[in-house]
């Protein structure tokens, strides 16, 4: 890595003792000696293992659940179903007033995705829990499922989630989050070329080497200590408090040393049910995702579909951009309504475009609920935007890098979401990329600046 100090030399500094210094990491000695304590490195006498009975169907009504054989299985201490969960229907973003509550901790009457948690088995050993889980009998009536976002949005599609009543999230702005800036249709009418293209992704897993999980210990004083690898301590604690209808003062979360997150450990899934198990048995409980669960049950990055329609002039100026984004939330909201909205705030990318129209939808389908991941709401959008930029440049016969200079945002430029640009540095990144990659651009672009009124 090289630090190039010639850019922004008037404002950047090397004036500090500790900041800017390559100090060794304080956690690294623990890592290399195997001494760092992750949540699962704590072992408590009498600890129970929690295994989840999961839905084998993408969409089904639950006619009945019979746990009697499982409960009799040697080593089984407790079997939990929906009726055991005090506030079984929840949604994590309710803490920031993003509702409605739309997800069950344990399925109640219906499953909406293959892998959904239905029954929790707590046993003395992992093996006993697995064997008992195999003895839980669930009678399902399979329902039609929908996996394709466009299909899900059509009239007559199977309804994924009754708590929403339609297969999209209803924002205060309606069926999508909207950004309106200038007159996009006038821009298309004026443009020398109009290019509309569609981009698609599929779900992506965070795949941290340490799977999601927690270890819960009843402290004997009606408090519960939860060793967890959540990425958000109070977010998890406060949601747990709601789900278990238990004052937050009874909950003590210890964490902060995590074997990789990448956004995959921001859902509140393992902690509430494990704490409930510890409460109802009085025993320590561990609930740790298997690798298979981490790969297919934990929330992935959402699949997205992005349609971009641009009006571009022969001289390289983009004068109108319309973006329609679809985020595949899967069966439940989790963080997806936020992600789709974050996308609306990100488009049309780091470019100054006078006419912009953005609609972003959060769509429900019968698949594993998606949630946040590194680059949430932006990563796939950037893929679409930057491939589109390449296509536009080639369409008008312009060098793709020079084309970006023409449209790059600079300090003071008004963004589509009506904030003036501050602290821009796209132009300088491109200038340095031009140098380091030996991708020459015209001198006028190398002389540009992100500063207001920069050349």
């Amino acid at each position: 890595m090289e630090l190039r100090k010639n850019y922004f030399a008037d404002v950047r500094k090397d004036d500090l003792h500790e900041i800017g210094q390559p100090r060794p990491r304080s956690d690294s000695p623990g890592h290399v000696t195997g001494k760092t304590a992750y949540f699962a490195d704590r072992n408590f006498p009498g600890m129970l293992h929690l295994k989840m009975v999961r839905s084998p169907h993408h969409h089904a009504r639950i006619r009945s659940i019979d746990t009697s054989e499982a409960e009799k299985h040697p080593g089984v201490v407790k079997v939990l179903t929906a009726k055991d969960v005090p506030h079984n229907v929840y949604t994590i973003l309710i803490l920031i007033q993003v509702g409605p509550e739309d997800e069950t901790v344990l399925a109640d009457g219906k499953v909406r995705w293959k892998g959904e948690a239905v029954v929790a088995v707590l046993a003395e050993t992992e093996r006993a829990a697995q064997e008992a889980a195999a003895k839980v009998k669930v009678d399902y009536e399979v329902l039609p499922a929908v996996f394709d976002m466009e299909e899900a949005l059509k009239p007559g599609a199977p309804l994924v989630n009754e708590y929403h009543g339609q297969n999209y999230y209803l924002y205060d702005s309606g069926e999508c989050r909207k950004v309106r800036f200038g007159d996009v249709e006038a821009g298309f009418a004026e443009a020398d070329h109009v290019l509309e293209q569609s981009y698609q992704s599929s779900p992506i897993e965070h795949a941290p080497t340490e799977t999601t999980g927690c270890v819960v210990v009843p402290e004997g004083n009606d408090r519960f200590t939860c060793y967890t690898n959540t990425q958000a301590m109070f977010f998890t604690l406060d949601n747990t408090s709601i789900i278990l209808q238990m004052p937050g003062s009874k909950l003590h979360f210890v964490g902060g040393t995590v074997g990789g997150g990448f956004g995959g450990k921001v859902d509140v899934i393992v902690e509430p049910i494990a704490i409930l198990g510890a409460k109802l048995t009085g025993r320590p409980v561990c609930f740790i995702y298997s690798r298979e669960e981490e790969m297919q049950i934990s929330s992935p990055r959402a699949a997205e579909k992005v349609i971009i329609k641009d009006g571009v002039m022969k001289d390289g100026r983009i004068i109108a951009r319309k973006v329609t984004g679809y985020t595949d939330a899967g069966a439940y909201s989790r963080h997806s309504p936020y992600g789709a909205q974050k996308g609306a705030g990100h488009y049309p990318g780091p470019y100054t475009i006078p006419n912009v129209w953005i609609d972003t939808y959060c769509v429900y389908t019968n698949r594993t609920p998606s949630s946040a991941m590194r680059g949430f709401g932006v990563t796939i959008g950037d893929f679409a935007l930057e491939v589109q930029m390449d296509k536009l440049a080639r369409l008008i016969g312009m060098d793709p890098l020079e084309f970006r200079f023409i449209n790059a945002y600079r300090d003071g430029d008004m963004k589509a979401h009506r904030q003036p640009t501050e602290g821009a540095a796209l132009i300088e990144c491109m200038q340095e990329a031009s140098r380091v990659a030996n991708w020459p651009v015209a001198e006028k672009y190398m002389a540009m600046s992100s500063y207001k009124n920069g050349a």
Partner: protein
């Protein structure tokens, strides 16, 4: 058979934090009797180095070496509230909270030192080595060790501070979408060079040259860790990763690290990282959040390079050999 070469570019920006939900984080700082400093947080270190960076920020602000600072993350019984580690917010939000807390603690520390040295606190400065000096008269000094002892056992002062950093929630306006999604943005531009085997559709990423603007590199070696690992993940997203290879068909999802594809140690592109610094107005010592955006520009850069190499557009991620081969066959017809 032909191995065809191409290159592509992409440029991006990325917001720091989650303004659209409201974004607070708190920190507490206090000294021990011998002048070491505890930073108490509920913020989570995912491996990106939160603990180390908060220690450096606290040390800088107090005026002691980093090894005099201990960071305790994360315990809800002791650590004050943090929204969490996501949205590239950790360093920016928690860092600002730590600065505020450390400043308050520093002020008490200087007041105690002033009493010991019988000067005004405003006339004092720290040397970054654990001493407090009188400005212009460095021979008149006291160690922070002695100041802390005095505070604890003689003067009855708590060398401590509270920090709170809040970005208030921005509610998007219903009709226009007017909003403030972030107060600062990191930037990047990546050029990728690939080879494509036009008989199998296999892509080899030869080089990626990444330029990142991140406000300020608080610890350059740790920044490098994030950026190198992020660049790898970007390439991985471009060419390999998905839990549903036949999306929207739900079948054949991978359940292990053999089936969930990521580049192995034999697939690494020659990776160059250049960092620029345009300090952000509200960042801790000018820092922005680089952790997420560093994995984004490689994806379109690789996609554009594939087109440059073989003349087909793959607009669906991941850009698998199968998708390339199908497109090449369609192009040939």
């Amino acid at each position: 058979m032909a191995i065809r070469r191409g290159r592509g570019v992409a440029a991006i920006n990325y917001p720091t934090g989650m303004n659209l939900g409201g974004d607070p984080t708190q920190a507490l700082v206090h000294s021990t009797p011998t002048g070491n400093f505890m930073v108490t947080l509920s913020s989570v270190d995912l491996g990106q180095g939160m603990k180390q960076i908060m220690a450096q920020i606290c040390a800088e602000t107090i005026g002691v070496p980093t090894d005099r600072v201990v960071v305790d993350t994360a315990d809800t019984d002791t650590g004050p509230h943090c929204m969490g580690t996501f949205a590239s917010r950790g360093t920016h939000r928690a860092g600002n909270a730590v600065i505020q807390a450390a400043k308050e603690a520093r002020q008490v520390m200087l007041e105690v030192a002033a009493e010991e040295l019988e000067v005004n606190a405003s006339d004092l400065e720290t040397d970054g080595q654990g001493n407090i000096l009188v400005k212009g008269a460095p021979q008149k000094s006291i160690s922070i060790f002695d100041v802390a002892l005095s505070a604890h056992f003689k003067r009855g002062r708590s060398i401590s501070g509270r920090g709170m950093f809040l970005i208030p929630r921005s509610h998007p306006e219903k009709e226009t979408g007017a909003m403030k999604p972030s107060t600062c943005y990191a930037h990047a531009c990546t050029v990728a060079e690939v080879e494509v085997d036009d008989e199998t559709g296999e892509v080899t990423v030869l080089t990626v040259k990444n330029v990142f603007e991140i406000g300020r590199a608080l610890n350059p070696k740790m920044v490098e860790q994030q950026l190198v690992g992020g660049s790898w993940m970007g390439i991985s997203h471009a060419l390999y990763e998905t839990t549903e290879p036949y999306y929207p068909n739900r079948d054949h999802g991978g359940t292990d690290f053999n089936q969930y594809l990521m580049p192995g140690p034999g697939d690494l592109a020659e990776t160059e990282i250049i960092v620029l610094e345009r300090p952000s107005a509200d960042g801790p010592y000018g820092a922005k959040g680089p952790g997420e955006m560093c994995a984004n520009p490689q994806i379109p850069a690789v996609a554009n390079a594939v087109f440059d190499a073989v003349g087909v557009r793959i607009d669906t991620l991941p850009i698998t050999p199968e998708r390339i081969l199908r497109a090449l066959k369609a192009q040939a017809n």
